[in-house]
Point group: C3
Chain length 473, copies 3
Amino acid sequence: MIGRTVPLDPDRLFPADPETRKVARDLYEQVAALPIISPHGHVDPSLLVDDQPFPDPAELFIRRDHYVTRLIHAAGVPLEQLGLTDRSGSAATPTPREVWRTFCTHWYLFAGTASGYWLHTSLAELFGIDQEPHAGNADELFDEIQAILATDEFRPRALFERFRIEVLATTDDPMADLRAHDALAADPDFRGRVIPTFRPDSYLDPLTPGWVERVATLAEWNGSASSSYAGYLEALAARRGYFIEHGATAADHGVRQPLTVEMTASEAAALFARALAGEITAAEATAFAGHMLLEMARMSVEDGLVMTVHPGVHRNHSSDTSRRFGPDSGHDIPLATNYVENLRPLLERFGTNPGFHLILFSVDEASFSREIAPLAGFYPSVYIGAPWWFLDAPDAVLRFRAAVSETAGFYRGAGFVDDTRAFLSIPVRHDMSRRLDSVFLARLVGEGRLALAAAERIAIDLVDLLPRRAFKL
Amino acid sequence: MIGRTVPLDPDRLFPADPETRKVARDLYEQVAALPIISPHGHVDPSLLVDDQPFPDPAELFIRRDHYVTRLIHAAGVPLEQLGLTDRSGSAATPTPREVWRTFCTHWYLFAGTASGYWLHTSLAELFGIDQEPHAGNADELFDEIQAILATDEFRPRALFERFRIEVLATTDDPMADLRAHDALAADPDFRGRVIPTFRPDSYLDPLTPGWVERVATLAEWNGSASSSYAGYLEALAARRGYFIEHGATAADHGVRQPLTVEMTASEAAALFARALAGEITAAEATAFAGHMLLEMARMSVEDGLVMTVHPGVHRNHSSDTSRRFGPDSGHDIPLATNYVENLRPLLERFGTNPGFHLILFSVDEASFSREIAPLAGFYPSVYIGAPWWFLDAPDAVLRFRAAVSETAGFYRGAGFVDDTRAFLSIPVRHDMSRRLDSVFLARLVGEGRLALAAAERIAIDLVDLLPRRAFKL
Amino acid sequence: MIGRTVPLDPDRLFPADPETRKVARDLYEQVAALPIISPHGHVDPSLLVDDQPFPDPAELFIRRDHYVTRLIHAAGVPLEQLGLTDRSGSAATPTPREVWRTFCTHWYLFAGTASGYWLHTSLAELFGIDQEPHAGNADELFDEIQAILATDEFRPRALFERFRIEVLATTDDPMADLRAHDALAADPDFRGRVIPTFRPDSYLDPLTPGWVERVATLAEWNGSASSSYAGYLEALAARRGYFIEHGATAADHGVRQPLTVEMTASEAAALFARALAGEITAAEATAFAGHMLLEMARMSVEDGLVMTVHPGVHRNHSSDTSRRFGPDSGHDIPLATNYVENLRPLLERFGTNPGFHLILFSVDEASFSREIAPLAGFYPSVYIGAPWWFLDAPDAVLRFRAAVSETAGFYRGAGFVDDTRAFLSIPVRHDMSRRLDSVFLARLVGEGRLALAAAERIAIDLVDLLPRRAFKL
């Protein structure tokens, strides 16, 4: 059905024009082997503490990757057949091999997608598989991968070294104990740097299910009254401190719109009380959450945590799927996003504050040239986040570079973030980013817009200087 | 003024890079001669029933094509001079030859436009004209075309066969008798498949002029009371059934925003009554129309008609032009369009319903990567409509492919639709689409992102499998 | 740090593909030496009256160019260190040489930006500098440029001739006396055409600080009562007449949204009275300003001034920076912009009025294919403004061409505007535009979409016919 034997092209992602390709390849070769700095992602740190073999190909590549499951779901395959647990009960769980077969049968869906590129490259580079999966070779591939997973070289720590990961940031609940991070830091046999990220969304927005309980947990830990707005702020600041003690350099915020709202402490306290009493309106809750985003910026100014904002996503668009499979099951959908007016209160207060870092991500491409680059081209605090999620793909990355660089240059960026739950895909994602930046720079060189020496310097800085500086690593 | 002799380039639309061009050409050659499936358009079926010669070049290429007339109008030529009938009376109608002369004099306006490409290619391929029209050759070209139109090979049915049209869908008023479709189906000499499409907009939105009368016509046909909301729904369902009996597979919906609104039957009935009484407010009417769009989805789930939605257009932007020349006179202007929140009620109810097909079109490019591809990449019901109207042009099509494919791959698409009133432009439009898809695929092959064998399979599927599947043909 | 010696590439901005490059170069050579028509910009005309040497490199390239200062500010350098005057007092002003050193140290920030391209090209072409500035050569470059600036060939008038500027439009306050324009027109030694542009924003929007005083000045000049709405309109019309007498062909309007509002004269007069009394609400003021934009269109219809609209910018985003450094200090940020609904009242009244010219600019790329091109593709009055401000850069210009041309062709454009305060950058900006249009046309030729002869004609018309026609020059 789909072409079968597909060896990895060493010049993959490079453009067809021979001159540009040559320059791109030369630039890429300078950065291909540099260590990986991964300042934002979703890998479970206990993976590295336990250092157990990955269980099977389905667990590794499919079940936990909603980029993969959503597209097979769109083809009509229920999520439970891909190994997701249906919380409403009932459905028999397929075996990993069955999940893998379903995946292989639907492999053709991924042609041209970012996931297809990552999967194909990972299979080829890590497992030496140069065939495209299909129904006919599913079992064979499963066994082949399974055998390799059982070897010591495929334990998470061995891969961590082989991938040359220098820093790996995880994303964590504010009340997380961070024991895995401690264990790794204390382990003389593990030399990587694995750091937590403070992600307080569900503690800030009263409309999030479970908010009242979370506020109570915070208060209990803090020894303050659950009903005290001042205690709530204190507890949040203290938990940020706890994260900093455990290595965190950043706090991450996922919001529908990057709304920030000025209000007095007494106004905020009144809304907090109404929220605890379950009496808050949706508009009030939105305002309160917007105020809390501003408070998080204030705390970042005070404690130095880099503030990253990932806005513009309607989470859990399908209620039924959410109810059955929980969050992150593939139906978060981007929205038109307004940064300029929503972030103004925050930037009015902290935009030029030395030491404050605000990294803005976007899944609304229209905002790149219109809002993100102009903001980062003036405010010293604002850094441009890498194209994220649906835009973390070859053509989208090049569109992003073209959209922001002419206004903001290369030095207002924050480097690449892989943002992945899939540990094995980390190197291929960073490699893709390095290839694409080389392609972009090579084009500017070819068009007489950039000296080759400058391009070489920039290629390295994009991988090294920029993430270190923006994320304070 | 403009270059004169312009023979058709066999490699037209292919990129300059020789390697990519070669792959594109090879892919294109595989699909160039495949039958045309045209699942959405505006050709008048009586054209094929009557099978009369096309009257003249102005009728054929200008008067009825608002893509053409609007751009000459923008250059300051009144629409009546292009042969449009001014309903406010008075103006003397120019002869077809005069209209043609005006067109040729303004031919330079079309350089670089989609219409220019279609016109140039049609003139060359169908009429063997390798000169660009201008004032000096207008009469000669008119006579040349006129002579060819009089031949039997240029009768509509002969062209239908020559164009290799397998399926041609028309767009029809819900109360249309569909006699022309019946006649074609019953005619043993005509082997094509010409099917109607149910287009109920003006029966659903109380703000459309004539809505009350249309509701009355529906009720009369149905034998129900005109004032009965239940009867109104019944009649709509019955007319859908009538269309299905006459071969329809789809219902088409053109709306300003793809708003869908949940309300109870009694709420809807109350608004229906207020609308009939002329007492409905604009906001209520918008809500009612949004509810009716949801009802159409419910009926599609029940009767199986594919639901296509063409939103995001401010129709009849110039009131004076509308009054004088009616709708479709060239001043429908796109708008920023929100699919994610507007369609949520519909997708909550039917998004994962097996057998329900919802094809989303857009003229707001920002929505492609942000909303359309993510929705189609999760909901099994959602298919991505081809870039439409102002975006049905070479560069726009390639931007579209780049915007959606990385998220949704190639198999969430619904194939190409020509959406044309201009029968003669059907083959060149489909040919353009096939060339451009070949260009896009060839680039991925050249960048090592897609195996050639996969590209070959996809090129064929885009032309054959995808429209058949999405439109249930 | 950054590559050092960077001679100017004669083929800069041309694409890598050799065939396309050759065609682009040929097209460019036809237009490279054509006179410059600059119908919109911000050069101070007294520069040409006085004809004094430019004082120093910092004054010339840095202090007055907020494209340059904003990006160095984003890197953490306070604006006062770049020579901007802090109105809040205190800070010691750096010497021009110190400012220049700071600039050279931060030169690497401009890699890949439009400003970097203009600066590099200007330094090379005008001053023969083929080195990239850096801390180490800052003093040497300063001295070199300074010496050249002292020569007679670098007086403004000599450069005006050398640049082959045929028309230069300035942007002026409605109450400006236009003496500099008169002096130039009367000077037999100066043969250029330097014309004013009527820019009334701050007289139309009651929320602009100082509006009441400006209205009083208008009334005083007009001899009408300051409280008379009719007198206010009369005075505006009379000042437009004054500008026309002094050579103006256009009125320019910078607004947040291009809102136009119909209201009766008595409604407008009531709002005018409330505004003078300081009692107007923000919503009323917005409506009044929207009404005044409509009135400006009416006056344009009457007096023939071309109406240019530059909407979609949140001016002075950082209040503190505004307070200290005034407007145009680098933190105006674009916004999503709606033309279709906002401009409808205006287009309903004047859209097809012969002789009325409305040139629409945009800094929201999403609007190009969605709104701007479709509007200009129907309304004879609407012309497409060049990509402006943040979008006046190589990739953005090519995106703009691709976005508008397929719908509106090439002849609905208004030519290039440099919109610059930086006199020395005028030729390089126009040269960049000519190169990019040649690149775009060459691609269409290569793709078989445009005959070479047509491309040659269009390349010339874009530089000559289009700005002359649209701006009535």
